[in-house]
Every structure is written in C-alpha cells, then in structure tokens.
C-alpha cells in the first residue's frame, strides 16, 4: 500500500506504535524503520547499535538513531537477542534507511525470546495497511525518501 507517499508493504509485520517493520524468517526476525519512521526522523546522521548477542527487553533500544533534529531509540517490538546488525552497511552509507527502509536499510536481525506472549500488538497484511492509514492521517505526514 502506498498512502501519502508512504510505502507500507503488506507482506511485512508491523509494530505500529513503535514504527518498526518485521520480516520473520524461521526463528530469526529482521527489523527496520518503516517509511513513516524514517520520514519522521529525517536524514540519519549516525546510528549506534547494541552489541550482537545482547538480550534486549521489549520496548528497549536495539540501536540509537541520530538525525539532524532528533536522537532516539530504535525500539525492540518484542524481547529478543541481537544476532546481527547492519552496522557495516550504515558505516558505508548512513542514509540506507532513508533510501531503502525495507531493503538494504534494515537495522538488526534478532531471535525473539518471548514472542508468544509479546506478539498480540503485531499486525500484517490488510489490517496493517488500514491501521497505518489512520496513523499517517494522524501524523499528517507525507513520506519522503533520500535519493542521493
């Protein structure tokens, strides 16, 4: 779905409140900032990742993101252990999430540690698209991507 220029792929799962997308692949989940999140944040200037192997509680920071106007956490949608970060990708091009948030701009890969109890807020498909329409209207946002 594309709504006010915000791309919300319906094959992904979302934590809408935290603006995080999730791609499950077996026991591993890849996480990133949604188009809405990267637009609200603005051009990213720096990211510091928590260490691989670290266990992170739901809602706590998997990374800290700095843009020209804001510093804040990239929050865990569920409790998890970090298995991989995209630190190398962002070191080569800090604007990865601003250019391609659902592709090369992924942030971390994690192993959920308590998913059964912490997944009721996650949505996907048409339900996610509908919920995001409401959120995009509330935020009065038009998504923007970096092209260079």
């Amino acid at each position: 779905m594309i709504y006010y220029a915000c791309d919300i792929p319906e094959d992904l799962t979302y934590d809408i409140e935290r603006d995080v997308w999730i791609r499950f692949d077996g026991e591993i989940a890849t996480l990133g900032m949604t188009d809405v999140a990267q637009t609200r944040c603005g051009k990213i200037a720096a990211i510091s990742f928590r260490d691989v192997g670290k266990k992170i509680a739901q809602g706590k920071a998997l990374a800290t993101v700095e843009s020209a106007k804001w510093v804040g956490p990239f929050p865990a949608p569920f409790s998890c252990e970090i298995v991989e970060t995209n630190e190398k990708g962002f070191a080569e091009n800090i604007l990865l999430a601003n250019k391609d948030p659902y592709g090369v701009g992924w942030l971390v890969r994690v192993r959920p540690t308590n998913l059964e109890a912490e997944s009721s807020h996650l949505v996907t498909g048409e339900a996610a698209a509908e919920r995001y329409k409401e959120r995009i209207k509330e935020l009065k946002i038009n998504c923007l991507r970096c092209i260079d």
């Binding site: 720096a46 510091s48 843009s67 106007k69 804001w70 510093v71 804040g72 070191a91 800090i94 935020l139």
Partner: protein
Amino acid sequence: MSKKIRLLYMEGVSPLRSQTVYHAVGYAMKQDTPNTIILVSPNAPYVSIGYHQDLQKEVDLDYCAAHNLPVYRREVGGGAVYLDSGQLFTQWIFHKEDLPASLEERFALYIDPIVQTYKELGINANYRPINDIHVNGKKIGGTGAAQMGIAEILVGSLMYTFDKKTMSQVLKVPSEKMRDKIFESLEAYMTTMTEQLGSTPDRAMVKDLYLKKVAEALGAEIVEGEWTAEEEAMAQEIDARFTSDEWLYQKGQLKQQGVKIHQDVHIVEAAFKAQGGLIRIIARLREGRIDDVTISGDFTLLPVFAVGALEQSLRGVAATPENLKSKIEEAYYRLNIQSPGVTPTDFTTAIMNAVTPPQAA
C-alpha cells in the same frame, strides 16, 4: 493542554548536574509524572559533546584540561559546545501525547515562547525552521530533541552571553587559521541578548517573562515544584555514567561537514595536492554559497596579489564545480594569473573537497 506543568528551577548547579538533570527526569518519567520544564544554568563553564561525536576528534582535550573545563557527552545530538552561566537552559520533559507528533511542529511550539520572550525584550528574534532561532541572520541559540524512556525531550537556551573566543578554543581543529575562521564566523553569525540590548537584562525578569510566554503557548499553568527522590537517584546514576571514561570516550559515528555555526553556515576545510604544490582551503559556506574563503599552500601564484583577488572573486559564488571553475578561470584571464603546475581545475577540486568531503569507504 489543561494539566499543570511542573517547573524545576535550578540556577547555579554543577556543570554535570546541568546536563544530567533532564536525562534523569526523562528516564524516570512514568505515566503519572507531570510534564516538566527545567530552567537550569551551570555554576562553572564546561563543554558538552553530541551523542555520537568522537571526543578525541572533536575537542581540544589539552586546552580543556589546562583550563579546568570538564567535558560531558549528552544524549542529544549535534556538535560540541562550550557552555557557561551566560545561558539559561530551557529543558522540556513531556509526555509524547502532550506534544505535536511531527518534530517540525514540536520545535515550532518549543521555540515560540523563546522567540516571544526575545521579542518582548525588544530583540528581533525569529524562528528559523527546523530548529534555530535567528536575529537578523545571526543565531541566538539552537535547540535539540530526543526521546529518553517514555519522555520526549526538547532542549535549548535563553542566551544572555556566549563566550565565542573560548568556544573557538575548545574545538579540535586542523590549524589555527581554521580556529580563527571559526571565531570570526561566530562573531559574524551568532548573537546574544547582551549584544542585542547593549547590556545584560535582569535574569529574574527574563525567567518570569519566558514562563509567562510558555504558559500562553501551552495554555497550561506552570507550578514550581521539586524533583522526586527517584529522579534524584536516577540523576546520581547518570552522573556516574556521564563521568565514566567508557561513556565519554565511546566511539563516535557522527560524520559532520566541518564546523556548524548555524543552520545555514558551516566552516569547512580541505587540502588537495596539485602537481605544482599543496592547496589548502578554509571556507565558510552560507546557504550553499562561498561566504568567505582562505586559500593557502606551497604553490606559486603570480601576480603576488592573485591569491587575495581569487579569494575575493569567489565570495557569493554557488559552491558547485561549474560555478567555481568558471569564476576562477575568469580571474585567471582578467589578472593574467600564472601558476606553474596548478590549474583552475585544481583550485576547484580543492574547494569541492572541502564543500563535499570525499566519503570514507
């Protein structure tokens, strides 16, 4: 907003506490914590660096040690800044639902009472989106935003005075020429209440005026209060972290374009090895144009006044390779410049290296 806002008024606290207090109130925030405004100033000068800066690359630590200036890394972004009692920090620690969702609107709301305070004092201050406050093209303080726990934080200051000389001294820069350019640019593009009014206004009066403007902007009552034992304990925890080497010397990822003076003005520098010698550039960029440039190096340029003439001819020129090269070639033709082993293309490359530094692989 109908809820009361708690005011924590803390003039004259230690440099460390002037930073850790808003982190502590932010991290300690719970659903029933009131939105809080902290007005705080330090009782001694210090240096604050941005969350992702590399301390050893950005700050002249020898100078700071020699002048007893502690350095603290904040959890807000941006660059290194020298701070002292000449600023009253205005820190908002709010629940996110009590602030606009968009950061642009959030900054506009936060900055408005500061601008209105200045205006009532007779200073022609204006909001310069996204997060600067300007007076006739000069910056009178910047602002920042962050999320800590469930709290949304906005920070800035009311600028009574600003020690531009010491600000230029605490930065680690590649040359004293660059330092001079930073100081000169701070003089040209930063201002304070004292400069604007000819004398420092009464601090109690300014504080009261600011709080009145905040209450008007938010439609809320502001009530002076105390911080809680839990917040104080959190501050002590953060004090310990902020003074640890592990926190202070953590690897910085922030790559900046030179030194930012304000949103539209940056000082940049670069060197380029041409066949006829090394060209060094220190430039001040303003809204993408060369505001001022200093060219030096070990090349030969004749006639003797050619370097100055070249610098002069580049002022106001849009910082693109085409424009720069065209201006330089025109100066070469007009002044019959001779420069063995150095071409207009070399000067253009040197300047563009400063304007858009080659990306590190």
